[in-house]
Symmetry: C2
Subunit: 81 residues, 2 copies
Amino acid sequence: MSLSIYFGRIVKRVREEHGLSQEVLADRADLNRSYVGEVERGTAMPSLGTVTKIAKALNLSPSALLARYEAYEQSQLENVS
Amino acid sequence: MSLSIYFGRIVKRVREEHGLSQEVLADRADLNRSYVGEVERGTAMPSLGTVTKIAKALNLSPSALLARYEAYEQSQLENVS
């Protein structure tokens, strides 16, 4: 499973934990709503700048958002093995 | 100061802490040597995929590398204020 798919799933999960719609997240992150959808589906590979915008829009530091992604990826790999 | 400049300085600092040349880092990260130079100078905005490759080539998780960048950015902002 690719990095962008795992990262996208975490963005979606954290967004939903905050009860935000894609529109609200996109607005907060100053991103296009359809692009947020692409990131969440894993069809777009965001830049570090976009990762930072999304993290801050979710009230997380970029490192904290990546730590969530790493923990999720690890849990998926353990399920497979 | 921009995100890519701060991030680039941390990549350079960690690389030098490991005593690696740009060539060795580029080779480990499966990146072009000149691109590593651009990232370090802050003239390129890496993707999440590239951040992950660089982090792993420096024996760090992506979140750990970003945490170093965030601490460095914070220290610079405190110096200015």
